[in-house]
Symmetry: C2
Subunit: 317 residues, 2 copies
């Protein structure tokens, strides 16, 4: 694949299948140093889960593969997705508690506390096998890669996707704290990049994998590892999209920034929607930029994302 | 030991050493069904931790053995104890997240979600060995028994306590969800009762271990398993205290009930303080009743517990 190529999809029931974390984001109400904050707000969370909701609102037929606990938080997350009209039959339930991330907002960089539980208890079922063969794009995050049990499931899912012509998108959002200390997480992440069609690192993601460097050099490293298409998001500096022959930079479309939370997920959502709607990668990136610009106007990880047709009209892309 | 015997302690630096969970209680601000509550309040928690604070305020020299994460919640818990003047040198830090219990208050019985992490990573260090030999009473809860790693530590601690003449109190607060599904938790708990000097079940605790029965029969079951002294708390119906020869019931001293949270911990705290101050078990139970009656007047797990001398004067015990 290259960034000018328009992808012709075969007829499939689903547009997008995300494999990854659905969890509770427990975020302090106030900014506070030293975890002195007393009140926390429970939020629906998990990047793949946000992408499912955003793309559903944009008009895709999306569904999520994940696992939550047999507990009140699991009920809350599943019913939240169902209220968006999303099929939750691929979300398993286990006796582990529903995974949670606690974030105490502070003036510096907040240090999240990760409570892993049900999220990595996904299983490779017959239904999942069918679902991968019946979706146009499969997206996955690093969370399920970080534990052996779910890593095996993702590896099998990648194999099935490859064999059945399902495109693969990968969010290399590596966080050291999620992985076993004695596992070469960075080496592993680098080793699977050759299987993916789209990879969308942020500058931070790239730095965590390769160390500090300028964006163009970082993109070359992803391409050398075998990624077909690299989309690197640069925050206020827009996006660079590249394949092995061409590299193009686009400016941000954002004019108003209320909250950057979830901007990356919104970008992924617009980008995938553009691809599904028949655009080539370069043109789909513009939809990604429109979706993130839309999201940036709202506070919270999820915005009231409009239909695709209204979004591209609003941002003239 | 029997309930009329006055215990003569040798000279030791510490009065009470608790072995068990120190954790975050994340409790919903409002009552809500189906985990629909949005706001949660972060609280200092863990029954043994509350007992340490209460007894310190009553005038004992108390310290806690536990483990918390290298994270903001761990910092919060340790500094909370330090602010009470409690020695925290036996509280270890690990890379696991600080343990947390999430409770969504509802009209029915709230179902807690347990996020186990650092709490069961306690280790049997040389300092712990010295501390057990240098305390008058060692108290433990079921939390550290519920995982193999910390269970071995408690077993070794019990052995050391027995050999060095340290009295042992045990809170049989069994919760199925804390234990591995394939481990005979109830059988295990029953098997260690013979090592303890004081056991204080509530009616719920007894029912979870033995099934439903009247309090006097439940007490006999604890005695038959080898407990020296059984103190069974009955809520508004007071307390029954028993050894193999005698059984006495005391009425509650509570006149005002704002919140029952932490009443059991307050009872333990008053009871231990009475024992340390030279009372026999029957008379120490009265101090336990006074401490729980004091606590019941306040909202929250911890009340502004007065000095022992002021408490016994207020309740005339």
């Amino acid at each position: 694949m290259n960034i000018e190529e328009k992808i012709i999809f075969s007829n499939r029931e689903y547009d997008l299948l995300t494999v990854g974390e659905i969890l509770i984001d427990m975020i302090s109400k106030d900014f506070a140093e030293d975890f002195s904050s007393e009140e926390y707000i429970k939020n629906f969370g998990g990047s793949p889960a946000n992408i499912v909701i955003n793309t559903k609102r944009l008009g895709l037929n999306s569904r999520a593969v994940s696992s939550v606990g047999f507990d009140g938080f699991g009920d809350f997350l599943v019913s939240h997705l169902q209220n968006e009209g999303i099929d939750t039959s691929l979300i398993g339930r286990t006796t582990c508690p529903t995974s949670m991330v606690v974030v105490t907002r502070s003036r510096g960089t907040p240090v999240p506390i990760f409570y892993r539980g049900a999220d990595y208890e996904i299983e490779y079922t017959e239904e999942l096998d069918k679902a991968i063969k019946n979706t146009r794009i499969m997206h996955f995050s690093t969370w399920p890669l970080s534990r052996e049990r779910s890593r095996k499931v993702v590896e099998k899912a990648i194999k099935t996707a490859k064999e059945s012509g399902t495109l693969i998108g990968f969010d290399p959002n590596y966080h050291r704290d999620l992985w076993d200390k004695d596992f070469d997480a960075i080496g592993y992440i680098k080793s699977i990049i050759k299987y993916v069609d789209f990879i969308k690192p942020s500058e931070d993601d790239a730095e965590r994998l390769f160390g500090k460097d300028i964006p163009k050099n970082q993109i070359k490293k992803f391409l050398e590892l075998g990624a077909d298409v690299v989309v690197m998001t640069l925050g206020k500096d827009g996006v660079i999209v590249a394949d092995k022959n061409k590299m193009v930079q686009f400016n941000t479309l954002a004019t108003e920034v209320q909250d950057t939370t979830g901007a990356g997920d919104a970008f992924w959502s617009g980008f995938y929607t553009g691809i599904i709607k028949g655009r080539n990668v370069e043109d789909a990136v513009k939809v990604g930029l429109a979706a993130s610009a839309f999201k940036l106007k709202y506070i919270g990880a999820i915005s009231p994302m409009p239909k695709y047709e209204d979004l591209i009209k609003e941002f003239n892309v």
